[in-house]
Subunit: 347 residues, 2 copies
């Protein structure tokens, strides 16, 4: 077997973001991609993806090089080690299994050259992975794509893929190694010429900036049941909830030394055109009775801000409501036990 | 026509609270009651109420003296003026019609002897009625009944009727007149011997005490979708939401000069036995897509507390979420117009 010039890439999570990432990488010609799927595995394995994309046009039955129902155990299967392992799943650290245990079969201790890329939202998502894989460079991917899987295997990408890639802080690794890994990943990701993927050295800034949306609009839409158009029309939506929440994130970022642009709050309030009535991820998840990704999107910035003495009363309430919503989903899935209902005693 | 010794009583709202009030009054023998019904009018008019009551036992097909589908226009119909007009409807001042316009046909200017009794929750509910009927004594009824209308006309009362009655502050009326009206109402209400109806001079105290429940647990259950049992079991429910909210109400009451018992927060957290998994009124209303009674239960104490300089960050967020929920119901009922959805422009 001769060495392919292509990088061997594993994408964990083949939903709206992962499918477009895999497509980008394959179309650039510098990567052979294995995608690990769950709920849409059978559809995609049999028929491929149907993709309508503002970047790539219409593709019927498109398949990456390999499709998998589980993260491959490369030692057991004697597979070639992956050069890049990209995670596009949601981060729900409060619900097992952990991402590090999920991906460990693909990243054995002997693989010292792999690079992890987290195209995921929120703060401190790299921490448990740095603990589990201390010698692996871990890159941050902040994606500004507009993409949705409207049914299993059917992806509509209606806003361009703009991906900011840079290394997460890791003092135990040489920073040049991490920068090189980032630049190499950007090269293979943008090789197809259709996406805006850039190296961004300031991962903290990119992540806090996106939190202005994701720690605020996202849970507020989930809690109120209103999409990003309706929350702008509803009494109390923006001035009562979204703006105060966003200003708390801006203040926490500032206290962390991350200065966001002065207009970031208004930019984020208006970032989705009103008339598309977009349902952010947490609202979509609540509607499907899925778990919500609130710990890294809302819990972590709240804890960081509070630890630095920033008052965050709005986010505190939103966070605790999210906790109760997560519990509600746990109950619906029989993951918590509750005392049986007593019939009312007539007295 | 000879004068009946019975008081002529109008009850507006014949749901769970109004039906038991009407029953109490009729069974005492000192009142002839007309009940104004809406959604359950046809059922009750034809078949009467089916009542299972811990105070009154089981009654099949019980009817008050008169049943009405609308508030009677006593001038047009030449009816005898009412001595007491009891309102047991919800107060939703943000949604027309107002209670004062609703009841005005039964309380013309010429009727100078009628007394209004508001068996309703929340703060400042008397204000618009005092403006509309400046010479009418208005009494506060704080009810601690446990009663539900499980289907139209079918009432289950599973907790005793305890009613605190006293006059709302009104400096333009002689206080002796209002106290006498209160004592007389208590007399006719408790004449049947089966209820605990007492005169309570401190209406402000009674109302703020009940707000500890109604401004906090009630909206929190509505927002989280959890009943009063589950909110106690859910992560973040009590310590993250209910207790901080209740403590804000206690602080606002204190600033108003109303000292609540030191254990009031714990009493209210535990007032519904966990295992009955009780859905408070706002949660029940959200589930039925009804409007929620949040302005007098939550908005008014919030505004009063804030005006006195009490920090109320938890209630502020809960209030604004309630506002968006009310807007959502308005949208569902076509009471607001929103711009049409645009199909996404492929670019």
């Amino acid at each position: 077997m001769t060495d392919s010039p292509k990088k061997n890439v594993l994408v964990i999570g083949g939903g709206a973001v992962g499918a477009i990432a895999a497509l980008n990488l394959e179309q650039g010609g510098l990567a052979a991609v294995t995608v690990v799927l769950r709920s849409n595995y059978h559809v995609v394995n049999e028929f491929g993806y149907d993709i309508e994309s503002c970047d790539h046009g219409v593709l019927k039955g498109w398949k990456p090089t390999h499709v998998r129902a589980e993260v491959p155990d490369i030692t057991k299967e004697s597979l070639k080690p992956y050069d890049y392992i990209i995670c596009t799943t949601k981060n729900i650290p409060d619900i097992p299994p952990s991402l590090s245990s999920l991906l460990s079969p693909a990243l054995p201790y002997e693989n010292t050259t792999a690079v992890l890329v987290l195209i995921q939202n929120g703060l401190n998502i790299e921490k448990p992975l740095q603990d589990a894989f201390p010698t692996t460079p871990i890159l941050s991917g902040v994606s500004l794509i507009g993409s949705a899987e409207i049914r299993p295997g059917k992806i509509i990408q209606d806003d361009h893929d703009r991906l900011l890639v840079g290394p997460f802080q890791n003092r135990s690794l040489a920073s040049v190694l991490q920068i090189e890994a980032s630049l190499d990943f950007v090269k293979i990701y943008k090789a197809g010429g259709k996406t805006n993927c850039t190296y961004s050295p300031d991962v903290e800034h990119d992540r806090w900036r996106k939190l202005v949306y994701n720690a605020c609009l996202n849970p507020i839409c989930a809690i109120t049941g209103l999409d990003t158009g309706r929350i702008r029309l509803a009494d109390g939506g923006i001035e009562g909830l979204v703006r105060p929440a966003m200003e708390e994130i801006v203040a926490a970022a500032k206290q962390k030394g991350v200065l966001l642009a002065p207009d970031v709050v208004d930019v984020m309030i208006g970032i989705d055109p009103l008339e598309i009535y977009l349902s952010p991820s947490m609202l979509a998840d609540v509607r499907k009775n899925n778990f919500i990704e609130f710990e890294n999107l809302l819990g972590e910035p709240l804890r960081e801000g509070k630890a630095l003495g920033v008052p965050m009363p709005t986010l505190e309430v939103l966070y605790n409501i999210c906790k109760t919503i997560q519990w509600r989903t746990k109950e619906a899935r029989n993951m918590v036990e509750i005392p049986p209902k007593k019939s009312v005693v007539k007295s």
